[in-house]
């Protein structure tokens, strides 16, 4: 009888068990809005861009299907190759983007004289709109601008070059201006990471005779690996896809194509040349390029982050 009763109860439970568990349903309900937004604002535009990159667009006339013609035109266009080469050169400066704010943040953390002032001062450039920064530095970097005037005044006349006229100097100047504009956020990010570092650890290392650089490289950097990884991802996207306003205001991609980065080329191809199909194809190439580079950096971040301290 007892067995029968258990069976009956079991059958009753099976009937009462919902198709989806309540906690699972709540989880799905929480995820759904985010998922919907991601599909609407990420996936749909991406699919539309892929589709547009396969179309031939003549000015503002209706597009026609062109297969891979835009990708072939993109590969044959030397300006596209130039822009990706420029992106790689700019990306090669990533170590400076990572280390410079860290050094400054560590100086602030150690309460170096004037640290309160510098903490505010370092963050100030980040609060200036990039377009304004570009206009500002166009004047500062002019051949007869303030930077060269200072260099000449302090006896460094050979360094007073035409910053925005040389192909390498223009790209490096652009990258340096971007770094100037962005590094304050890095200092702030590192400071928040440093606030989790125990003062005893730093004091103990000092007692053992560690200097500033030893402390930085052997104590602080290993402790901040995950923060450094996070900042590296931000910088990667900053260099590769957030430089547009600076390029626009500072060099317009010139001289020649010396400071054209792929994102700038997407814009000019689409809106100045009215070639939306090719613009979309370059945009897709940039997307793949950034995805590969970011995936590498993110993977490093997770690997380092998951290692036991």
């Amino acid at each position: 009888m007892a067995e029968l009763a258990n069976l009956a109860r079991g059958a009753g439970d099976a009937r009462a068990r919902p198709f989806i568990r309540r906690d699972m349903l709540i989880a799905i309900l929480f995820v759904l809005p985010g998922l919907a937004l991601a599909i609407l604002f990420k996936l749909v535009p991406l699919v539309r861009t892929i589709w547009l990159s396969l179309q031939e667009t003549r000015g503002f006339e209706d597009p026609t299907f062109a297969g891979l013609a835009n990708y072939r035109a993109m590969v044959a266009d030397p300006a596209v190759a130039d822009s990706f080469r420029n992106a790689l050169i700019a990306f090669a400066t990533l170590p400076i983007w990572i280390v410079l704010p860290l050094v400054l943040a560590f100086l602030l953390f150690q309460k170096t004289p004037g640290w309160k002032f510098f903490r505010a001062a370092f963050f100030l450039p980040y609060m200036i709109a990039p377009i304004v920064v570009g206009i500002m530095f166009r004047q500062i970097l002019a051949p007869d601008g303030p930077l060269n005037a200072v260099l000449r005044a302090i006896g460094l006349a050979p360094l007073a070059i035409e910053w925005l006229n040389g192909p390498t100097s223009a790209l490096l100047a652009l990258t340096a201006v971007a770094l100037w504009s962005f590094f304050g956020l890095g200092v702030l990010t590192y400071l928040s990471g440093l606030s989790t570092v125990s003062e005893e650890v730093v004091e103990a290392a000092k007692l053992d005779g560690a200097g500033f650089w030893q402390l930085l490289f052997h104590i602080i950097m290993p402790l901040l690996k995950s923060v450094i990884g996070y900042w590296a991802v931000l910088c990667t996207s900053g260099i590769l896809i957030w430089m547009f306003p600076l390029i626009y205001a500072l060099t317009k991609g010139g001289p020649g194509t010396a400071t054209v980065l792929p994102e700038f080329l997407v814009f000019t191809t689409t809106f100045q040349f009215m070639d939306r199909g090719k613009g979309a194809a370059i945009g897709m190439a940039l997307f793949v390029f950034v995805a590969i580079v970011s995936a590498f950096v993110v993977r490093r971040m997770y690997v380092e982050g998951s290692k036991p301290r």
Partner: protein, 437 residues
């Protein structure tokens, strides 16, 4: 039955009366607002404020005075950023009701974004010296998409004070390329820039290219350019590129030229009194009025660009074009009001405002010449524009204009040969959607 609070007695009646009064007043007010909203149509006008802020303020006030049922909302964008703002509007088929555009190919390229002008609006074009730049292939018998209001084109301004300081005769500025070279040597020896110029953006294509092109091209050549049938490998076109290259190769220009734009940077060099010459335009921004205000009218002169080939058919002509045109966007749901604005732009009242407030040169034939401001540079300009020809700059596609500027930058820095520049220009022509055969 339970009585309602306001159901009985004198107080109830008075409250009911008060509520009814309030309801009536509210309905009247709402009705009035609705009527007002229906009566006034607001149109949005995308523009780069040619002629300056004061002129546009006066223009809008006059239009609204004449058309009390239409309100104008301006969306003003700097000239060199205009394509980047307009492009997304056209791509998404949304945005302003009226849009400004350079006449010629730039407008033809975007014609799908514009409504064809109906005959009653085109009627206003008959009072203009020309309005062909708003019509397909510069032909008024074909579809027209915009009406102009001012006359535009290129001249070279000179600073008499700088010329005198350099030991030159300010009353006789250089007329040929060789004379210009000799003058530049003296200006440079005096420690000033000879020709203020910026090679970034669209300015080389619009402000410099046509003035060199006039030395080698005929009007038929220019029409062939428009149709995409004039290759850049043609010796005439190569000569134009060589002419442009010689400007920087001869050292006439400021050293920052490859990395700055003519507006504002190049114009600033001239306005600051540090340069002898500047090649800009007759109306709108960076014109005789703006320069005269800063340098002093007595120090400002205007001349045709020096000739390279003195006996070329168009060497003594003026590269003229309707300054810009205004058309109605294809997606506008307020087309009647928008057409009314376009018509007003071409009208006499606006022409007089342009002359009086902005110092511009109107295309309207009915403007009283006596209201023109007194300026020697303006008098010289009015003489120069008497012999107009096509403006080769507005015949370039976006790709060509971009390749021209970037190529010139690299040529001036010694990093690109004329042959390679020519090849790039030809590629740009072949990649131009508007010029594909």
């Amino acid at each position: 039955m339970k009585p309602t609070p306001f159901g009985n007695g004198r107080s109830g009646r008075s409250v009911r009366g008060m509520l009814a009064g309030l309801a009536f007043a509210s309905m009247t007010a709402l009705g009035g607002q609705a009527a007002l909203a229906q009566d006034v149509t607001t149109i949005r006008v995308l523009n780069w404020e040619p002629g300056g802020a004061d002129y546009w303020k006066a223009l809008v006030a006059e239009f609204e005075k004449q058309n009390p049922t239409i309100k104008v909302e301006l969306e003003t964008v700097p000239f060199d950023r205009y394509p980047e703002v307009q492009g997304p509007y056209i791509t998404t088929k949304s945005g302003p009701d009226v849009m400004e555009n350079n006449a010629g190919l730039e407008l033809f390229d975007r014609r799908r974004a514009y409504e064809q002008l109906p005959p009653e609006v085109l009627e206003a074009g008959k009072d203009l010296i020309t309005y062909s730049g708003g019509c397909l292939n510069f032909d008024t018998s074909q579809a027209c998409y915009g009406l102009p209001f001012g006359y535009q084109g290129n001249v070279m301004y000179y600073n008499k004070k700088v010329l005198t300081e350099a030991g030159l005769d300010a009353a006789n500025p250089p007329k040929t390329w060789d004379e210009m070279n000799a003058a530049c040597e003296k200006v440079k020896a005096a420690g000033k820039t000879c020709l203020a110029i910026g090679l970034s953006g669209i300015f080389p294509a619009y402000w410099n290219f046509p003035e060199v092109a006039r030395n080698y091209l005929t009007e038929d050549d220019m029409r062939a350019m428009l149709a995409g049938k004039m290759p850049w490998t043609d010796p005439k076109m190569v000569n134009v590129l060589k002419g442009l290259a010689s400007i920087t190769e001869k050292g006439w220009t400021n050293s920052s030229a490859p990395s700055i734009t003519m507006l504002p940077d190049g114009a600033d060099i001239f306005q600051s009194g540090n340069a002898a010459f500047a090649g800009t335009i007759i109306s709108d921004a960076a014109n005789w009025a703006a320069f005269g205000k800063i340098l002093g009218d007595e120090n400002l002169g205007a001349m045709r660009w020096p000739t390279i080939v003195a006996d070329a058919p168009l060497a003594g002509s003026f590269s003229g074009i309707e300054s810009s045109v205004f058309g109605v966007s294809a997606w506008s749901d307020k087309k009647d009001a928008a057409f009314q604005f376009v018509k007003f732009m071409a009208g006499k009242e606006n022409a007089e405002l342009l002359t009086k407030v902005a110092g511009g040169i109107s295309l309207n034939k009915n403007v009283d010449p006596s209201i023109l401001p007194k300026s020697e540079a303006l008098t010289q300009i009015l003489e120069i524009i008497k012999k107009p020809t096509l403006h080769a700059g507005v015949l370039l596609s976006g790709q060509e204009a971009d390749a021209l500027a970037r190529g010139w930058q690299e040529v001036s820095l010694g990093r690109l040969s004329i042959e390679d520049w020519t090849a790039r220009m030809q590629t740009a022509l072949e990649q131009s959607p508007s010029k594909r055969q």
